[in-house]
């Protein structure tokens, strides 16, 4: 053991102190020589004689030195350097090849790195806390099935009940994203924040960068010793306060209440929700204070589930044991923490609490991004494969043209392994810069991707884009495997090269048919993979077009929406409805506003309220049908250009109470046999207070056209519209829709109305509805543009591959063409000869590609809208596109073949 260590030490010393070791060896040998001379002098020789005799005895010092240094196992490094220098010289000779290869590899490896970086930080990266493996997310599962388990948010009553009964955990805490409005002077700005249990930082084991973190004493009703204590993020501390420690202990106004900044989280910590990095951490008990004016605190509301719940396993307890305990105790916790009306529901008997892995934190966006990210990873993986096939084809061509050189080296005794290493080093010299540039590309690519993913969200998705060791490893694996994949063919060719026939023949004739066959196979593979990418890109682009340009049923041009938040105002019930009406009236008369209205749930919100219709014949039976519901003011239909087919609009008066308007399909669905207009719809309302069904009648006063209000992917649904009236359950949130040719007019009209009619309410951002449309399909836009970009790249690479193959083939067949032309072959005959080869390759490539494209298209059917996975038009267009690229690529080689002078061609032999 000790000896092994000693050997390693000596070896490393030799390796890293090569020069010093050489100097010492020289000194040692010189000393030896001097001793010899001294001895010779002592035996009576003259100085000159003594020196010569000593040197004779000593022999050739250079040979001796080499003999010794060879033992230092430096030779392999020096051989490697030699090979590398040679490879560099080779690559410098073909700068075009060099640039194209490195660029394609940059894009290929960079795109893979970028997507993987996001997947890594969304799923794989551990939280920067003590022992993250001990953390679990407590979720809910139906019937104990692990597959359908979700990290559903829970609430404080449930967490408190857990704390009373569970023994598996050393700590449990709840966490909820909660926006923080910071008021500085007159300006207000929203920052991402979170409300957290007092013990959160203790359980996580996070140490403050400055000051202290929150503790249980801070999380008490009424606040802790510092009043309402908050912790700020490191980033906020640096950007806002220039990392000034004096900020600790100061007061700021957050969501209209004064709080004390008590500390700063460490720079590495960004919360447990990997997609949302809070700038402010506030105690849970601060929430009721922030909500006291609105009177809608969720902290103790047993019906609202809002806390992502994490816990730390006690040492020695496994996640399975914790899950078992949770499952056993579920009935007792449900009894304790759930209100009676909820726990008596049918499904409640099937739920079980479960401990899910919490090492890498949590995010609700995991579900939303899983499929798009996997799709993109597959796309960019295919691109990298095409890059490799391309590089392999080009590498094969280069190896073929260097066959004489290689044969000569083999004949002179170079081991084949050394030649293969040579090819591999040349490939690595392409892939390593490709990977390094790819990392840079990925760094920017991640930012672009995140911007796409953040479209329409209040705070941008805050995934970390820093490449960690996992990402770097994947990038390195990409680089090395690309080098191996693309180096395989040339290496194989080398292993089969017999030097003698190659050297005997003149250059080109030595190319054997199998090499040509292999080059064609690579081009076929590129064509097939490219076709797959082009088909996928075609399908995704068609989907995007169908979604964006498809019929929505309402006007999207010049329409803006803006939310009005009246929760800080005292009006509720009738007074609130009247306030909304007054605002609508004022807005309507503003200059530049053509039309305007109110709506409860804005268009394209991917969410709708529900309206349960009771069978009119029974008074207390079960709900008959559930339809989407929206509450609107007068002029909604005229503002959005939706036709009123019969009846009338709402009027924003008390007379609206007890009425409703149905969409065309809703009318047909509810009243299939009788006219809907003037009929009565009975709403099923379950009153939690009374604990029984309280039906409510409303008269149908109008029938309107169908629209896709909720989501572009969901076909227009039968919808019930109710008026904004005294009896609506509205907490003070409403939206304007404004039809104004100028965006600025719409914005000024909104601001003036807000300040005039409802002073003291926050100013919110006004958004053109066309942007909402774009944002609602941001993932579709991302996948379509990404696949489009890479399909373009694939086409370009295939073009280069095809060009390379045929340029070489024409060169190799120069003599053959010359002979044919001399014997009377016409030019068109020569063109046909080349084209026949092109067509054969394209047919095989497209046939294979069609099959893989069809299989891939089937697997992404959930992304598609308005286009079938086997769409003939898309497949035909993709095939046609590839053929056009192929014809363009062979144009130059064919022209050269046709313009051959037979006399010159024959002379080349």
């Amino acid at each position: 053991m000790l000896r092994a260590f000693e050997k390693l030490r000596v070896w490393l010393w030799m390796l890293f102190h090569h020069r010093r070791a050489s100097e010492r060896l020289n000194a040692e040998l010189a000393f030896h020589l001097e001793q010899q001379i001294a001895e010779n002098l002592a035996s009576g020789m003259s100085r000159e004689e003594a020196t010569h005799a000593a040197m004779r005895t000593f022999g050739n010092p250079t040979v001796l030195r080499e003999q010794i240094t060879e033992e230092w196992s430096w030779s392999w490094v020096e051989n490697l350097l030699q090979d590398t220098r040679y490879a560099l010289r080779q690559l410098r000779q073909s700068p075009g090849f060099l640039i194209v290869s490195i660029l394609t590899l940059t894009l290929g490896i960079g795109a893979n790195t970028a997507i993987f970086t996001l997947m890594n930080s969304l799923w794989l990266q551990s939280l920067p806390v003590v022992n993250p493996g001990q953390l679990v997310v407590i979720g809910i599962t139906l019937d104990g099935s692990r597959a359908r388990a979700m990290g559903e948010p829970l609430n404080l009553s449930v967490i408190e009940s857990f704390e009373r009964h569970l023994h598996s955990f050393s700590g449990i805490f709840g966490w909820c994203e909660y926006g923080a409005d910071l008021k500085e002077g007159d300006s207000r700005h929203s920052y991402p924040g979170a409300i957290v249990s007092g013990n959160t930082f203790d359980v996580l084991g996070v140490r403050p960068a400055a000051g202290r973190l929150l503790n249980t004493a801070d999380d008490q009703p009424g606040g802790g010793p510092d009043g309402w204590a908050v912790v700020i993020s490191h980033q906020f501390w640096v950007e806002r306060f220039h990392a000034d420690p004096a900020v600790i202990g100061t007061h700021v106004t957050l969501n209209d209440y004064s709080v004390t900044i008590v500390g700063v989280t460490p720079a590495s910590f960004g919360g447990i929700i990997v997609t949302a990095q809070p700038d402010f951490y506030m105690p849970l008990n601060f929430e009721p204070v922030m909500r006291q004016r609105q009177k809608d605190s969720m902290l103790r509301n047993p019906f609202i589930f809002y806390l992502t719940t994490m816990a730390r396993l006690k040492p020695g307890v496994t996640r399975a044991q914790a899950s078992a305990e949770l499952a056993t105790l579920t009935p007792r916790i449900v009894d304790e923490a759930f209100p009676p009306t909820m726990r008596n529901q049918q499904n409640m008997r099937r739920i079980r609490f479960i401990a899910l892995p919490g090492r890498s934190g949590w995010s609700f966006l995991r579900l939303r991004y899983r499929q798009p990210l996997f799709l993109m990873q597959a796309l960019v993986g295919t691109v990298l494969l095409i890059c490799c096939a391309n590089l392999a084809g080009l590498g094969l061509a280069r190896a073929t043209s260097r066959l004489r050189e290689f044969s000569l080296r083999i004949a002179l005794g170079a081991p084949r392994l050394r030649l293969m290493r040579q090819v591999l080093i040349e490939n690595l010299l392409l892939t390593i810069p490709g990977a390094l540039l790819g990392l840079v590309f990925a760094w920017y690519g991640c930012r672009v991707l995140l911007r796409f993913l953040s479209a329409g969200l209040q705070f941008p998705v805050a995934l970390s884009t820093r490449p960690d060791i996992t990402v770097l490893t994947i990038t390195a694996i990409c680089a090395v495997s690309s080098a191996l994949l693309s180096g395989m063919a040339p290496a194989w060719l080398l292993s089969r090269t017999a030097p003698e026939p190659t050297l005997r023949h003149s250059g080109n004739l030595a190319i054997r048919t199998e090499n040509r066959w292999m080059g064609q196979a690579f081009v076929c593979a590129q064509v097939a993979l490219s076709l797959t990418l082009v088909v996928i890109a075609g399908l995704l682009s068609t989907t995007l077009l169908k979604l964006r340009l498809g019929e929505t049923g309402f006007r999207t041009k010049n329409i803006d929406t803006v939310m009005i938040d009246l929760r800080l105002r005292p009006e509720r019930g009738v007074a609130l409805a009247h306030l909304y009406w007054r605002m609508a009236e004022r807005l309507h008369k503003m200059p530049g506003v053509i039309d305007s209205s109110l709506i409860d749930i804005p268009p394209l919100f991917s969410f709708n309220s529900e309206f349960s219709v009771l069978d009119p014949k029974t008074s207390s039976g079960t709900a008959k049908q559930v339809l989407p519901l929206n509450e609107i003011g007068s002029n909604f239909f005229s503002t959005l250009g939706i036709p009123i087919l019969s009846g009338r609009d709402f009027v924003n008066r008390d007379a609206d109470a007890g009425t409703c308007i149905l969409s065309q399909t809703a009318a047909a669905k509810l009243f299939p046999h009788s006219p809907a207009l003037g009929s009565v719809v009975r709403e099923y309302l379950f009153s939690l207070d009374a604990g029984k069904v309280m039906p409510k009648d409303c008269e149908v006063i109008g029938i309107v056209g169908d629209i896709k209000l909720q989501n572009l992917r969901i076909e227009s649904q039968p919808t019930v519209y109710r008026p904004i009236a005294a009896d609506m359950p509205n907490p003070g949130l409403m939206n304007f829709v404004i039809d104004a040719p100028s965006f600025n007019d719409a914005k000024n009209a909104y601001l003036q109305t807000l300040h005039e009619i409802a002073p003291g309410s926050p100013e919110l951002d006004i958004t053109p509805i066309s942007r909402l449309l774009d944002d609602s399909i941001s993932l579709e836009r991302l996948t379509a543009s990404l696949s489009g970009f890479f399909a373009g790249l694939a086409l370009l690479l295939s073009g280069i591959g095809i060009y390379g193959l045929f340029a070489r083939s024409v060169t190799q067949r120069t003599v053959e063409f010359g002979v044919r032309m001399a014997l009377g072959a016409t030019r068109s005959r020569i063109v046909l000869l080349v084209l026949r080869q092109v067509i054969r390759i394209m047919l095989i490539g497209i046939a294979i590609g069609a099959v893989t494209a069809f299989i891939s298209a089937r697997s992404i059917h959930s992304f598609l809208f308005g286009v079938a996975p086997g769409s003939v038009a898309v497949f035909a267009a993709a095939g046609f596109l590839l053929c056009v690229i192929a014809l363009l690529a062979v144009f130059l080689p064919v022209r050269r073949a046709v313009n051959l002078d037979p006399a010159d061609a024959l002379k080349t032999e």
Partner: protein, 109 residues
């Protein structure tokens, strides 16, 4: 100076190890010592000595230290490692058995 006597490699290693087993010596001193003890029969050439020293060092049997010679020159002194000492005992034992056997054959046969 006579012609170099060829050593079996293992034999030279054994001689070097034995020579430095009492005290650290530099290359010249090792060569001289072997020559003296053997009564000028065994002459170690530099071409064999230094490669052997570097090989033994790499194998961890001996270690080198930079030090001052009697004449005040800086040179390398070699000494045995613990592993080298054990190796020497083993090899010396082997050598005794082998040379004894060869003597027997030469004298008796």
């Amino acid at each position: 100076m006579g012609k170099a006597t060829d050593f079996v490699q293992g034999t030279l290693d054994l001689l070097i190890l034995k020579t430095i087993s009492l005290e650290p010596r530099h290359g010249w001193a090792i060569a001289k010592r072997i020559q003296q003890i053997s009564g000028d029969v065994l002459q170690v050439q530099q071409g064999s000595l230094y490669p052997a020293l570097y090989r033994l060092e790499r194998q961890g049997w001996i270690k080198a230290r930079w030090g001052e010679s009697d004449t005040g020159r800086q040179t390398k002194f070699y000494s045995l490692t613990a592993a080298g000492r054990k190796h020497l005992e083993r090899e010396a034992e082997n050598w005794k058995r082998l040379s004894g056997a060869i003597n027997l054959i030469i004298e008796e046969a």
